[in-house]
């Protein structure tokens, strides 16, 4: 039975692509190439200006709030505001099909979205989804998944060194917020956190994204 559904799904996928790309029997485009194409179409701004702007925001928050945890929470909130808006821009520009599963979401986020907006190639590491029923009542077998975004190059943190008095600061918190906001707008409630940080000496900056809930679209009756 599982094989049959897959065959039906891939048939549907192929037909969808034929419509989307106007060519019959075309395989799904590798997301990396799509990301590169979209990046090349975007208007560019100086990366140093971007890095310095973000640095100015963080240092101002640090001066105003003093507590690293509060600074991270504010950055996350700012990121959320960016995320809910940037996802529309993303969907409008990038010619991506609907993701079939959370794993694909991770690939699209890493290879297309990060490339388009930050100009860097990031890796997506998938973790196998849990098999048992979720604690919030999701039926067994419907796996809520997770992936990790791995950044080796991070334009936010170029030239940044966090001084020892602020060593608890999670400098890249804004990215967690962006991911959370963007995915929420497409029906996925996720929890994001920075699990490894280049500024703290780790080899790469790793953001873990865990799918908590798929929110069905709610249609409100406009009439009174």
């Amino acid at each position: 039975a599982a094989v049959a559904t897959d065959a039906r799904r891939s048939e549907g996928r192929a037909r969808h692509e034929a419509r989307a790309f106007g060519r019959a029997n075309m395989p799904p485009p590798p997301y990396q190439r799509l990301g590169d194409i979209e990046f090349s179409k975007m208007d560019k701004v100086s990366s140093e200006l971007f890095t310095l702007t973000y640095g100015a925001i963080v240092t101002q928050l640090v001066a105003d709030l003093e507590d690293s945890g509060q600074v991270a929470a504010q950055l996350d909130k700012m990121g959320y505001g960016i995320g809910v808006r940037i996802v529309d821009e993303f969907l409008a520009r990038a010619n991506v099909r609907m993701c079939q599963n959370f794993e694909e979401t991770g690939e699209v986020v890493a290879k297309v979205a990060f490339k388009m907006f930050l100009g860097v190639a990031v890796e997506c590491r998938h973790t196998p989804p849990p098999q048992a029923a979720g604690a919030d009542g999701t039926p067994a077998g419907e796996s809520l998944g997770s992936f990790s975004i791995v950044l080796h190059d991070n334009p936010l943190t170029e030239f940044v060194e966090v001084p020892p008095e602020h060593e608890g600061l999670v400098y890249c918190s804004v990215l967690c917020g962006v991911l959370r906001g963007a995915l929420e707008m497409v029906g996925m409630r996720v929890e994001c956190s920075v699990v490894a940080d280049q500024l703290k000496g780790d080899e790469a900056t790793v953001i873990s994204v865990v799918l908590k809930e798929i929110v069905a679209e709610q249609y409100h009756d406009d009439e009174a």
Partner: protein, 143 residues
């Protein structure tokens, strides 16, 4: 060559306030180093005056050797942003040493260090990345 040629690197801002002074050898003592550097500053300014009149002034001025004592030679570089970098070499270093690329790379490290949003000239020292960069440059040069 048993001894490293570079004895000390110093970076001073436009008001001659030291931003960074790093000895790379145990002698001379720190106090003597400060004297040598401080004493060289007048000579650095003199050399800058000399070059100011010339046609096509370089934005970043490599001032060459500005001071020589029996044991040491002081080379200077004035960045266009006003900082001055001084390198104190032992006298037994080859006399035709060109420190221009060394200074230029050091200036690059300095610019990168100042881009750190947490760096504040009044409060903090230059970030450790700058120190690492300079140490690496000195290693490549001194042997």
């Amino acid at each position: 060559r048993a001894m490293a040629s570079v004895v000390c690197v110093a970076v001073l801002d436009r008001k001659n306030v030291p931003l960074y002074i790093k000895p790379f050898a145990s002698d001379p003592g720190e106090l003597d180093l400060h004297y040598i550097i401080h004493g060289s500053l007048d000579l650095v300014e003199e050399r800058q005056q000399l070059l100011r009149g010339r046609p096509a002034p370089q934005a970043d001025q490599y001032l060459g050797m500005v001071h020589a004592t029996t044991d040491f030679r002081v080379y200077a570089y004035a960045a266009n942003s006003g900082e001055k970098v001084l390198a104190v070499l032992r006298d037994d270093a080859p006399s035709n040493v060109d420190l221009r690329p060394f200074f230029q790379q050091l200036h690059r490290h300095l610019v990168n260090a100042k881009c750190n949003p947490f760096y504040n000239a009044e409060d903090s020292a230059l970030p450790p990345a700058f120190d690492r960069g300079v140490t690496q440059l000195v290693g490549a040069l001194g042997g």
